[in-house]
Symmetry: C2
Subunit: 328 residues, 2 copies
Amino acid sequence: MAPRRRIGEFELIARYFAPLARDFPGAGGLKSDNAVFSADPRRDLVVKTDMVVSGVHFLPDERPQTIAAKALRVCLSDLAAGGATPHAYQLALALPSDWKESWIAAFARGLAVDQRRYGVSLSGGDTVVTPGPLSVSITAFGKVARGRAMRRDRARAGDELWVTGTIGDGALGLLAARGRLKGITPRQGAMLEGRYRLPQPRCALGVRLPGIATASADVSDGLLADAGHVADASGLAVVVEREAIPLSAAARTALTVESKLWAAVLGGGDDYELVLAVPRRKRAALRAAADASGIDVTRIGHFTHGAGVQLMIDGRAAPLPRKGYVHF
Amino acid sequence: MAPRRRIGEFELIARYFAPLARDFPGAGGLKSDNAVFSADPRRDLVVKTDMVVSGVHFLPDERPQTIAAKALRVCLSDLAAGGATPHAYQLALALPSDWKESWIAAFARGLAVDQRRYGVSLSGGDTVVTPGPLSVSITAFGKVARGRAMRRDRARAGDELWVTGTIGDGALGLLAARGRLKGITPRQGAMLEGRYRLPQPRCALGVRLPGIATASADVSDGLLADAGHVADASGLAVVVEREAIPLSAAARTALTVESKLWAAVLGGGDDYELVLAVPRRKRAALRAAADASGIDVTRIGHFTHGAGVQLMIDGRAAPLPRKGYVHF
């Protein structure tokens, strides 16, 4: 990537867009991924918008079914972080001028499969033709008991930091897809690549977490960045113990061969796991929720007074690695 | 435009996307512009998504404030057609890689002005960088009394066809901006161009129409097309009397000089007026609502049994003009 000469996405949002959301309490000052609307007397509607662009957020040769699934799932991942049950989505599709009907048919099939998988329905949208690359913007809606949507900004000092699944597979999968990963088997490469191409949003666990986690986010920007977003929004610091981070066997192999890949594991995005702030007394409840949903959870650190992200390696404070892949 | 070799937007939606919305009653089979969610015991949330792309839906040299306003207003126009009061919106912004902070600042100012004008707030969104042209996708939310959102598919045989404001200014404005309009004064050219560049959604009237209009749509695809969409969705035919169509003085002048511009007036889009199906007994209520909102309404035809659009010129059935500008 070229050096960053300009303000980044977060500064841009804080400076220009957050003021536009000041009077809408459900926007949370744009510091949470999700917006919250009232849905009915008992439930809130959690709303999340994401946009993915060919060649930026997915590989230009990606299959249409997979593009459809990824575009939808990156939103469902945020709904999972909000504790919401997927309900419906709006689809804005910008097609390149040489679009083919067979492509659309496959794209729609991909959506249909995920609609059944996640219990969600298309509710509306817009389709246009663009001289640029294919892009897909989805606004997804989920439901959660009134006032129970999880946010980024409610972690408390002393809360433990937990993550779901394994971390780093998304960023390593992108490297694998580009043939840049050494020492792994073809099967491991395919697994990592699959993790990059097709996120597995943690909806089954997310819906069980209101009342257990005090704050949450999904890992889309990178573990340290997203844990840091929760800490920042909550006015706290977060400590991450590197050796506690759950890794897939493939990631472990890749890191053994090339330890500088830790930068990608800690700083790359696209894992679509959840980072959670959980009070110690809720440990048993968290484990029970994890068991019920069949999703692993691992404690990897804690929140404390202060600011920023502190990485610990074997009990010693370590410098943060340079951030990995930057979409923006 | 090149000849259309492929299926059009409406066929594409009907064939591939409508099946994905079959189980979501609020989607109306994707035959209405808006989706409807429940908001609270007394109100529904009307939801509309639109995407605009530089060089396709607005001129590449357009000012950022105007792009912001247009992107928001094309959605608010649909909320007006749904009878909903604007509430909030999600913003997905794809910036070209050479974006400048000053551009963003001006874009945000344009949104801020319209937020005050229409009483709406940013609720969330996403910002990405694209190798393609600037594009903006907005999902807007409006509120309406429960069960009262206006739709396209409720017109009844015998209902009168009404429109707001004047028709054709949007399409003629695009021609004016390109220097292709003859015989008009510079002032008239500027007025028409302004109508193209910056829609005036009929929110003030729209919110008064539930209970008066049986069906509605906004004029985004063109008068005949949009009146036809209401007729199709309602299982009816619609008759349009050309001489009854309200025209601005500028449009009247342009048509006197060049009568083939009727094709643009009838078939071009971008007017963002409302087409309404109104029972005869509701005429007085419609006029009172129009007076209260300061927006003119004109009766230009009626709905009847059958199918399709019938254009009448001086009392005689006339062939439909070729469709004007096609975005898709």
